[in-house]
Subunit: 329 residues, 2 copies
Amino acid sequence: MATIKDVAQKSGVSVATVSRVLNEKGYVHEETRAKVVQAIQQLNYSPNEVARSLFKRESRLVGLLLPDITNPFFPELARGVEDELQKQGFRLLFGNSDEDPVKEQAYIHTFLQNQVVGLISATQASKELNDKPPALPTVLLDRTHDGSYTVYADGKEGGRIAARELIKRGSHKVTVLKGPSHIQPVQDRFQGAMEVLGNSNVDFHVIHTTSFTYEEAEQRAKELFSCYATTDGIIASNDITAAAVLHEALRIGKSIPEEVQIIGFDDIPLSRLLFPSLSTIRQPAYEMGSQAAQLLLKLIKKEQVTAQHIQLPVTFVERNTTRKVKEHG
Amino acid sequence: MATIKDVAQKSGVSVATVSRVLNEKGYVHEETRAKVVQAIQQLNYSPNEVARSLFKRESRLVGLLLPDITNPFFPELARGVEDELQKQGFRLLFGNSDEDPVKEQAYIHTFLQNQVVGLISATQASKELNDKPPALPTVLLDRTHDGSYTVYADGKEGGRIAARELIKRGSHKVTVLKGPSHIQPVQDRFQGAMEVLGNSNVDFHVIHTTSFTYEEAEQRAKELFSCYATTDGIIASNDITAAAVLHEALRIGKSIPEEVQIIGFDDIPLSRLLFPSLSTIRQPAYEMGSQAAQLLLKLIKKEQVTAQHIQLPVTFVERNTTRKVKEHG
DNA sequence: TCTCTATATGTAACCGTTTACACATAATTT
DNA sequence: AAATTATGTGTAAACGGTTACATATAGAGA
């Protein structure tokens, strides 16, 4: 690999001058610039980012911390983040935390050691961040937290919508599957659904799940249909869970959506592939990632940011696990 | 952030000594070490990876290049890679290429600028790699290439198995959906299926797809059932395509697997969630990622590697889009 | 003409590590 | 006792960039 010294030598100038043409900063005579540019091309030189980072005390890397890329909601987020960052010349240092605080800290620590310019985290990554006074620019994704910059979808409204749609479409005995309660957005969804359900006159009950694994969802689905055989509407904590419920419902011969309606949450790519395709509350995952990246970029560049919290709207995606509502009922 | 100098000062020794205790290299008196360790703890010091990388001329970062993390096959791969690397203290620099050579080169270039120790690529990343004589340790994942280290699944055998299983289960008019032909493993699958189909006495025909998007798959599925209404067995190019076909088949009222059998490829998490759940040829994606990481680690450490190419077996996952084969036919 | 400023370039310090080398002392050999 | 060898530590030069500062020339304004 050629270094800046090689370029300086070849073009007969000092390294300072080369650096100036590289960074288009300070005065450089046009002829000199031409010579330098030529030398750069001949040597196929490109600057060493590591040396640059060392001096500047920051890299062009951004840390991205996710719970688990294997959960189909997160690739969309990640893609949104990446595409936006990539456009502006930043790269991603990536880690899965599995919601494990130890892993999480370990990743943040190495991110810091690698002098990332910023961090986007879809985990509870709170501690390390708020401790350090010369804090790393950070955006929380799909999480809320007063003191931080955040980008998230309106989970509470999502929960409300889900409940309303189910009621509107004639469900009378609703089951709500509540996800792991330590995850903030999950709580919100649940609260929203409770709010509407509580103000309605339908029966409802709640089944609690402790993870987002398909295995557990399968288990809960079986319970659901054996304990509450007359349930005719299900609000799942996310689409994976909804898929498990749907699968089990079909397996035991329920007709969907005639006997049982199901609404999921997230609108992961899988949802439309199910049969019947899954009605769900859509979170604009890609958009969320993209917004988070844009916000972070502003923080990094110390540009004016108008909002500390960006809440994106959720929408009801009507597919075929809910009944059609007749016009002018 | 405290530096090694701060630690040296606080513990009353030189930076060289601190470096020695940090790296457990060279002689350090036990008492001195204790003093240094204490200073490190008091200052909450941890070494700057960037400075270290600069001097060593290599970082502890590994580049991971994927076509598109949004395609559900790749998160599993990525997770396999990450988990293995993470254990050994390496971090991931991550990029999606969208199979676009320009993006691909751009990523490899910045990986190089950041002095990654190695590269794992699930794209055609050939050029830049083989050009450079002081080559970056590289492992190709899910791709084959004679001159490189590779980890991949036995696609050809997968194709054969798919065809055999379909025939064994009584399909007489098989349709093969052939994926984008510039992607090597896709070709292999196709070749394998052709081999078995060609030596059998079933009718078959081929429909060509140019992408792995669900939208195109949907389109092709419609074509399939309108042009070849009597098809009773379908080999899809991957599980996404298979899902689209299944969806369309159900929509037009075919009974699965009685009238039509379907076999996918990959066994992505979605596959078991479909209804009927999808029979498919499983690639051990996580394992592939993990193996690739292990191989790369060996290359990096210049350990003896026994095999340049690691081919992992595929397996038939029997679910419910294929008929049961009766014992003792 | 003299000063001031804009243009152009080089020198050297610095970013935070690692390590070759020098040096000193203690423990072993011979 | 002399010669090795092992142990322990510091000095300073890298690594490959950036930039403050010094210096020099040319044109502009007084």
